[in-house]
Symmetry: none
Subunit: 232 residues, 2 copies
Amino acid sequence: MMPRYQKVKDHILGHIGSGAWPSGHRVPSENELVKLLSVSRMTVNRAMKELSDEGLLTRVAGVGTFVADRTAHANPLEVHNIASEIRNRGGEHTVQVLRLEAVDAKGDMARSFNAAPGATVFHSLMVHCENGVPVQLEDRYVNPAIAPGYLGVDFTRTTAHQYLIEVAPLQEVEHILRAVMPTAQVRRLLKMPEGEPCLMLQRRTWSGGQVATSSRFYYPGSRYEFSGRFKP
Amino acid sequence: MMPRYQKVKDHILGHIGSGAWPSGHRVPSENELVKLLSVSRMTVNRAMKELSDEGLLTRVAGVGTFVADRTAHANPLEVHNIASEIRNRGGEHTVQVLRLEAVDAKGDMARSFNAAPGATVFHSLMVHCENGVPVQLEDRYVNPAIAPGYLGVDFTRTTAHQYLIEVAPLQEVEHILRAVMPTAQVRRLLKMPEGEPCLMLQRRTWSGGQVATSSRFYYPGSRYEFSGRFKP
DNA sequence: GGCTACCTCTTGTATAGACAAGTATAGCCT
DNA sequence: AGGCTATACTTGTCTATACAAGAGGTAGCC
């Protein structure tokens, strides 16, 4: 059963998503929603506070609650598609699929999916090359409930990224970016010289309220960098 | 008057910040804190939930609440203030100013400022520490036309970042993020063990149509990470 | 007009109590 | 030994109530 504050959030999100409540529109007060949805004021307060923390609503004590102006919210690190990125640079993208299998999630992996240890998850391991030179090692775990057909995908024709956004709309993304020394296996697969560090991007995505994927991407330090330019 | 949930958060942050509760340490249960701090359970719950949302605590229903094992982290898109970031985690921020001087820009540096070679620019080099441990080496060049008073700033009282946004509103930001091996000097200043990589963030900022700063930030790979969470 | 006092509606914080759900463990039974 | 259950403790959610604080309007006064 979905928690009640989620019901309240969905009610508000529905009106925003459909366009019925544009930016700046006044949202009903807490007491009005109490009557309308038959929940307590604390529950409405929690729902609106969370939406406010997430930047979707603006609240002013004594005045009311309003739909926030979302155009100001710029995109951080994009969830990018390595294949199109390479092609945009004029390079030739090739991929080598090393593993594509169902495995039992254990320990940390099960926890990151909020699943019971031993639950089945899909696992893929592939190397992406630009003009034959490895630039990304993609170690990905996928929730079968979100993408049941994952094991049957032909990854030489589409990327995991492309497939996943088609079957499951992205709801939320979490990134962690670190500098690490590669393990011997990672170093070998990326054909890296000894002593060179890696950028490691760890990413989890959510779809339909569930964790959809949990992935690690390794980039050779000398062949890849993240860059961006924006106006605050 | 400070809200009571803040009192609870400060109590927990104090123990984390002082090192009394290391990563993985079990935090007292909600009911224990209720008795200890004489507040209601809902207030303790709010405090711990917020710290959990902020990534400082990990909570597992039926088990307990634990200090999260997260190294330093920051959102790569934000131009962040290292001092307030450390203090938000409950840590103690100290800074050591190694250089603060006017130098002649040559070659690349002059070009990145769109200035003639030999033009004067301000240069600062400082190490930021969290509880005495170096977490960031800041190597910054500043356009004197934008911040003429830069050399007179007391950086033990404010950060370069703070000062610059006060005297010059940010117009645009460009950054590049790489994994590199530190030079001997960088490694020594950050007190890093041999063989450990660095995250290097290179950033240029614009203000009033001119390049305002050109900086490099080095972070020890084992003590810092960039993280972010967002909805596409 | 301009001012103050008051009233009302809003969100913000806090409490006590309740039940649900997740997890670990001790101890019992087969 | 292996499997089961009862239990104790944890966090998660929800309610009803209360008071505080912020903001705006209005009536009445000078």
